[in-house]
Point group: C2
Chain length 503, copies 2
C-alpha cells in the first residue's frame, strides 16, 4: 500500500476505534449504567470525543488526505480507498469549518435547553422554552453560514444528516406526498370503525413477547451471534462493528405492539450495520450512509415486512400458539387490522404508517420558516396547531402535546426531522426495486423466508456502508433518486384495502 | 493551582478517562458482548491501551512531573497532590524501564501461551505447555532485570502487583503460617465427618439466590445506586469511577455457595472501589492500593463477615424464610458448618479458608525456584505433586488438576499469586484493628448492621485509594506492617471450635 494512504488509514482507524468505544460507553449508559455513574460517564465521553475530534481535524489529517489522494492515480472512484478519501475529506472539511468556540457553545446550549425543555413540557409553558428555541435557531443559522450552501440555508443543516440531499428536492417530494396523504387520512377517518386494535391490548407475558420478537428478528436476518437485544425505556440501535450490533426494545405487559414492532424496527437498523462490507468494518466508512437511509431499513423491516400480510401468514399461527388464550380465537384479518389501525393522533412517536409523515412535514415546514424568519418563535405554537388541524383534523389541547413534544429542537438539532420521512419514503422505493429483481419475495415471506430480500438489501445497500451519498446509493440500487411514487402506491394499496377504499 | 500541576493533572485525567473507558470495554466483553464482537473489541482495547500508555510515558509527562514536583514546596507528603506525583512518577519510571519491544513480545506470548495452555490442560499434556512456561520464565527474568531490584529478582515482579512489598517479608510470613496450617489441616482431616455440607447442596431457585445475595451485599454496604450485579461464568469486580462499580456472580441451581459467596466476595472488592475518596475519583489515585489490599476486602467481606456466625445469627432466619423447604428444618449450627466445611482438594479456586493459603504457598515457592533456576520446568509437575502431598495430604491424579490448573503462568503473570494470600492474611489483621477500635462490631453484626465496620474500613483503607504503598497503608491502619498472627488466631479460633480441636 502506498505510504501516505497507509498512514492515513492508521490514523483514521484510531479515530474509528475511539468512536466505537464511545458507542459502547453510550450503549452502557442507556442500558445498564447505575444512576451514580452519570457524571463520570459524561467525563469519559467528553474526553474520548475530544480526542477523536482533535485527531480528525488535525492538520496532519488534512496533509495525509492530500498526499494519499495523489497516490490514488487511476483507482476507480467507487473503490474503497477512493471512497475513503472522498468521505473523510468531507468530514474533515466540515469539522474544520465550524469554529471550536461555536461547537462548545452548541454543546452548552444543548444541555441547558434540554433541561429547560423538560421543565417547560412538564409545565406546559411554551413561553419558558421560547428563548431557548430562539437560540437554537440562531446557532443553527450560524452553523449553516459557516458550512456554506448554494441554495437555501436549510440545505447546510439537512446536509449534516443527509449528505448531498437538497431541501428543494425534499420539499417537492413531501408536497406530492402530502397531496395524497391528507385526503387519504380524511377518507380513513370516515371509516375508522372498520378496524379495531382491541386484540393487541390484552395481557401478554413479557418473557414470551421477548422470545417471539427475537425469533421474528432472527428470521428476518438479524444475527444474534453478532448482536444482542436488551431493554431500555427508549428503544435504539447502535453498533461497535459489523460483528457487534446492539438493539433494545421496551415491554408493555398489556399491549403487544411496543415490544414487537420496536424490536423489528431496531433489528432493521441492526441488520444494516451487520451487513456492512467486511473490508469497511472498523474504518470511517463502516457505518450507514445517512440517517435517512438507516431509517429506510428500520421502516422497511418494521412496517412493509413486519406489518405485512404475507409475513403474518407465516407468523400468525405461531403467535397464536405462543398466546393461545389471547389470540387462539382471533382470525388473521382481525389481527392484521389491529397492528395496522390508522388513527390520527397528537404524538409523532405513536403515529401509524399513514399519519406519521404528516407529523414530519409539519416540522420540516416549520423549521424552514423559523430558520429564514418567516415564522416568529412566539407564533410557533399556533402554527403547529393550525397545521395539525389542516393535515390530521385534530387540535392539540395544550403545547405539551403540541409544539413541545419533541426533544430535537432543545438538543440543537434542526434539519434532522426530514430524515424520518426520507427513510419511510425510501423504504418503499427499495422494497419495490427488490421486488422487481425478485418477484418471488412475497411468496418467500409467506413461508417465513426473508433471505432473498435480505440478500438484495445487503448487496445493494448495506455492504456499501458510507461509501456513497444517499442519492447516489439510491440511484445505484433502484435506478433513480429518491421518489415518493412507490410509497404512495404502497400506502394506497395496503390501507385502501384495509379500509375498503378501493371499491 | 500551580501551572505545571494543573497541566499534569489534565494530562493524567485523560489517561484515567481512557483507562475507565477500557474498564467499560472489558466489563462489556465479559458480561454482554456477543461472540462475534471479540475481534473488534480486541482492536478497540488495543488502540485505547496504546493511547493511554503513550500518553503516560511521553517525555512531556516526565517533564510535567518534575515541574509540578518543584511547585509542591511544603505540601505534606500525604497530601493528594504530593501523593499523585509520587505514585505517578513510579508508574512513569516503571513503564519507561521496560522497552516497548519487550512489552509487545509479552503480549504476543500471552496470547499464544494461553491458547497452548487451554489445549494442554484439556489434553493433560504438560510437555506441550512446557516450552511456553519456559518462555514465561525467561520473559519474567528480563522484565525483572529491566525494572531492577535490591534483594532477589522476584522482588521486581512482586512489586508490580504489590508495590514496595519484599519477597523475604512475604516468605517469612508464609513460613510462619505454613507451620501452623499444615498440622491444622491434618487435625481437621481426622475429624472431617464432624461437618457436612449436604444442606447447601439442594435445589435453590436462582432468582431467589440473586435477591438474597443482593440484600446481603447491600446490608454490608455495597451501594446499588452506584453499582450493579450481573452474571458471568467467572465472577469479577471492576469500577469505572467510585460511583459506577460493577460486580458479577454465577449461579448453580443445586448449590447455594457459588452465587452467594461470589457475590459477597466481589461486593467486598466493589465496596473498596465505592469508598475511594471523592477528591481522588477519576484521577490516577482513584483505584485500590494493590491486588493484595484489594483481596483483603473481598476476603474480609466474603469470609470473616460473610461466613461468620455473628452475621448468620441475623441472616439465617431470613434465608430460611427464603428457602423454607430446603432450610426450614436445618438449624443454624448445621448451616454454619456447611458453609465453613474444610476439605483438602485439588483445585485452588474451590478451596476452603483453611487450605486455600497452602495452594498459594505452593505456587509462590515454585515461582521463586523456577525464576532463579533451582527448579527446572520439566520437573515442575512432580514438584507440584510433592508439595500437594506434603501440605494437603493429597496427590493430583493428573497434571490438568495439578500444575496445569491455573491461567496465570500462561498469561505471563509471575509474582501475582502471593497477592491472594497477602489479602487473606491482611483481612484478619484489618478486622482485628477495627475490632480494637470498635469492640461493639460483633454485636452490630448479630443485628444485621455493618456500618461501624464499613465506616472504619472507608476511613482507614478505602478513601486513600492508591495514595500509599500497601505496607504504609497497613501500618497507618493497624499500627504495624503485614503480619500473620491475626490470621492464625482467627483460623484456629473459628475452625478449632467448628471441628472441636480446642478441648
Amino acid at each position: 500500500m502506498a505510504e501516505s494512504m497507509s498512514r492515513l488509514k492508521e490514523r483514521l482507524n484510531d479515530v474509528s476505534r475511539l468512536q466505537q468505544a464511545l458507542a459502547v460507553l453510550g450503549w452502557d449508559q442507556q442500558v445498564y449504567m447505575p444512576p451514580g455513574g452519570a457524571e463520570s460517564r459524561a467525563e469519559q465521553i467528553g474526553t474520548l470525543d475530544r480526542m477523536a475530534h482533535e485527531m480528525l481535524i488535525a492538520d496532519e489529517t488534512g496533509e495525509l488526505i492530500e498526499a494519499a489522494r495523489s497516490e490514488l492515480n487511476g483507482s476507480a472512484p467507487d473503490s474503497d480507498e477512493a471512497s475513503l478519501i472522498r468521505v473523510v475529506n468531507r468530514d474533515y472539511e466540515q469539522s474544520k469549518k465550524i469554529p471550536a468556540e461555536l461547537v462548545r457553545e452548541m454543546s452548552q446550549h444543548a444541555v441547558l435547553a434540554q433541561q429547560a425543555w423538560v421543565k417547560a413540557r412538564a409545565e406546559n409553558d411554551f413561553a419558558a422554552f421560547a428563548p431557548y428555541l430562539s437560540k437554537t435557531i440562531d446557532l443553527s443559522r450560524r452553523v449553516a453560514d459557516y458550512l456554506g450552501y448554494e441554495g437555501e440555508r436549510y440545505d447546510a443543516l439537512l446536509d449534516l444528516f443527509e449528505p448531498g440531499m437538497k431541501t428543494a428536492h425534499v420539499a417537492a417530494i413531501f408536497a406530492d406526498l402530502k397531496a395524497e396523504l391528507v385526503p387519504l387520512v380524511a377518507a380513513i377517518a370516515e371509516r375508522a370503525d372498520r378496524v379495531s386494535d382491541a386484540v393487541v391490548h390484552q395481557s401478554f407475558d413479557e418473557a414470551k413477547q421477548e422470545e417471539f420478537g427475537k425469533a421474528m428478528a432472527a428470521a428476518f436476518g438479524f444475527d444474534f451471534t453478532r448482536g444482542r437485544l436488551d431493554r431500555t425505556v427508549h428503544p435504539f440501535a447502535t453498533g461497535f462493528s459489523r460483528n457487534d450490533v446492539r438493539i433494545t426494545t421496551r415491554y408493555d405487559p398489556n399491549f403487544l405492539n411496543p415490544s414487537l414492532f420496536s424490536t423489528l424496527h431496531e433489528a432493521g437498523h441492526g441488520m444494516y450495520e451487520q451487513g456492512i462490507g467486511e473490508t469497511l468494518d472498523g474504518t470511517m466508512l463502516g457505518n450507514g450512509a445517512s440517517l435517512g437511509v438507516h431509517e429506510s431499513q428500520s421502516r422497511l423491516w418494521e412496517n412493509i415486512v413486519g406489518r405485512g400480510r404475507d409475513t403474518w401468514q407465516h407468523f400468525y399461527p405461531r403467535l397464536q400458539e405462543t398466546f393461545p388464550e389471547q389470540l387462539g380465537n382471533v382470525d388473521l384479518d382481525t389481527f392484521y387490522g389491529a397492528i395496522n389501525r390508522v388513527h390520527p393522533s397528537l404524538i409523532r412517536v405513536e403515529a401509524d404508517e399513514v399519519t406519521y409523515n404528516l407529523h414530519i412535514m409539519l416540522r420540516f415546514e416549520m423549521e424552514r420558516e423559523l430558520l429564514d424568519g418567516k415564522l416568529a418563535v412566539e407564533d410557533a405554537p399556533e402554527a403547529w396547531n393550525e397545521k395539525m388541524r389542516a393535515y390530521l383534523g385534530i387540535t392539540p389541547p395544550n403545547d405539551a402535546e403540541g409544539v413541545l413534544q419533541d426533544v430535537h429542537w432543545s438538543g440543537g438539532m434542526m434539519g434532522y426531522f426530514p430524515t424520518y420521512s426520507i427513510g419511510t419514503i425510501l423504504s418503499a422505493q427499495l422494497f419495490d426495486a427488490a421486488m422487481r429483481a425478485h418477484p418471488n419475495i412475497p411468496e418467500e415471506m409467506r413461508s417465513g423466508r426473508f433471505d432473498t430480500l435480505h440478500g438484495w438489501l445487503v448487496e445493494n445497500v448495506y455492504r456499501h456502508g458510507r461509501k456513497f451519498e444517499p442519492n447516489e446509493l439510491i440511484t445505484r440500487a433502484t435506478g433513480e433518486p429518491l421518489q415518493s411514487r412507490s410509497y404512495v402506491v404502497y400506502l394506497k394499496g395496503k390501507f385502501g384495502e384495509l379500509y375498503g377504499l378501493n371499491s
